[in-house]
Symmetry: C3
Subunit: 252 residues, 3 copies
């Protein structure tokens, strides 16, 4: 039984999520639909990219991930199916697949009638293109028949990471600042926004209200405030650079 996951900025107060699920239930009845997140901030493709990148890898091979955060719907960006080491991704090519497709990937445009609704509304491709495409994959339709192979062009504002330097790439629900700096490049401490923070094990290693750095769940360095919000404390945007530091530097 195929699994289709859904990541969108549709919210949880409208019928958009329901319409997508209805199409899948109708076209691929034996599929299990799994909600990942529907409260991606409106139009925030980079947020979606991180969410998908950090959750999809836990699913079994063959899982189909539909990712629709699509401010350019009906415009020039392509609709694509992307294959990455045994996982399928379906959505607009706008940067949402930038992290997952860093690994080897193949991509196809979604053009064939078997992968789209008969009538496609220009402002709801989630329902009329991406849900039917995911259902077609779930039913076992040959993906190479979806359309021509394409090269992904979507990119994130902060581009590719240079070695020895991280960026804040995600601010989560708890106000934690997630970076893309691997622990192996961080050493014992990191500097961010003028603060030098030794890398500790978990929240309880510092006093309530203190800033801390630690290896987060994405296996990259993360910045938090124990029982507080690091986003409010530091007030720095995504893309902010995070650098390795020596523990000897003052911790504040």
């Amino acid at each position: 039984m195929a699994i289709i996951t859904l990541t969108t900025d549709f919210g949880t107060r409208d019928g958009y999520v329901g319409a997508v699920k209805g199409v899948i239930a109708r076209l691929a009845p034996d599929t299990t639909i799994v909600d990942i997140a529907h409260d991606i901030p409106r139009g925030d493709v980079a947020h979606a990219a991180w969410v998908v990148s950090t959750s999809c890898q836990e699913f079994p091979h063959g899982t189909i991930h539909v990712v629709v955060v699509d401010p350019g719907v009906g415009g020039a960006r392509h609709e694509v199916i992307v294959k990455v080491v045994g996982h399928w991704f379906v959505g607009p090519d706008n940067g949402a697949f930038a992290y997952v497709a860093e690994r080897v990937s193949d991509a196809w445009a979604i053009e064939s009638a078997a992968f789209r609704a008969k009538r496609v509304n220009r402002t709801f491709h989630g329902r009329d293109i991406f849900a039917p495409a995911a259902a077609a994959i779930a039913r076992g339709v040959d993906v190479t028949s979806a359309g021509p192979m394409v090269r992904l062009t979507g990119a994130l504002p902060w581009g590719t990471r240079a070695r020895g330097q991280g960026r804040i790439v995600h601010v989560d629900h708890y106000g934690n600042l997630v970076t893309d700096l691997p622990p192996g490049e961080a050493g014992d401490a990191v500097t961010v926004a003028g603060h030098t923070l030794p890398i500790v094990g978990t929240y309880e290693d510092v006093a309530p209200g203190e800033l801390l750095a630690y290896v987060g769940s994405a296996r990259t360095i993360e910045i938090a405030v124990r029982d507080g919000r690091a986003d409010a404390r530091l007030d720095v945007p995504r893309g902010t650079v995070v650098l390795p530091a020596a523990v000897g530097e003052p911790y504040r």
Copy 2:
């Protein structure tokens, strides 16, 4: 395997959604439960009516839609099962079915013990009446045994649409203003709140920050602001009239 969808104003921070799902899982174990939306604004029956109307039609025939936005719970309104062209709807008769039941429908009061919990709490009919009723339908219990046939009395504040005239009937998560005006009656442009807007194809057909009108996903005219919120820009209530206009009129 039957599908039961859920549309409520229960929110996603309490146990109410879980209780409803538990009852269904217990009484109709082979059923697939699908969340449509649980963040319907509190008590906003008209919002629920639109959400259900625009998402239910995508589901396969036989789907059971539970809709519980029920400010009058425990009071005089009826609890009903409604059958509309192959779909079932279950909930209070308070207007939530006004759109779907415009088409031919049959309705039954939920009175029989087989369709209700043994003990019915007066403030949680979702758990004690509507979930058991949906589970009974899913198990194949004959709906004509639920109770007497009734006539739906629930209505929406803006009543029925007159030909050649639309109303704003829904404000979505993105701040888009959804009308009930079919494109065939709109012509090339619409007037709303003193603005005349030509009907374009999609968001990218206007500049960022501009108002636009287009054929929305419900196949009715919709008003939006590209990369912005039309509800904040126009600040008009639901029920506001939207009229066809000639393109020659000034666009502002």
Copy 3:
């Protein structure tokens, strides 16, 4: 087919819920995953305790309830599996099981490799300990092999209720104040925050905007404002005492 329910404060805008679901889908593919609530207020263990206590009982026996509101993640609290009259509960021992485990319960620490991920991140036990443990139970692994039996130590701020006296233990999505006072101990009226309220049947028994007390869906006394919010009206914290009163006392 086993059922695993999820109750967390992970929110619905990040990949955390998806990661947990992915682990379960991978390790126990035949399981049905049911979302109870992911918008538990951040770190609010008492809120989670009430949500789980009032929804879990509706599920069929054998259901596995994963409850992760875990501000002390990576710290000293135990990770546990709790068995309570045919239901399984999995999560940190921090008070989230205080209500459900008032009944006879057995608890085991989660220590065995079969119940945990190979690599456990110190800030995301939901993904690396509780999801694998739930999947192991779902697959039928013998729970007594998870680890040593332990005594639950997690407790709620307001301790145990004394007979004839209730406390506000939950404030729900609608602003209703839920108490733990059983109707049998309340008599005809209750006093809270200087107001004496006769116990009525449902919202429509008072005028719009009025305070009311009634038997809520948890079968305890609940305080609400018809078409309004009791939390805003009374502005009293959880833990506030609610006492039985005589109807003769003035109703305001």
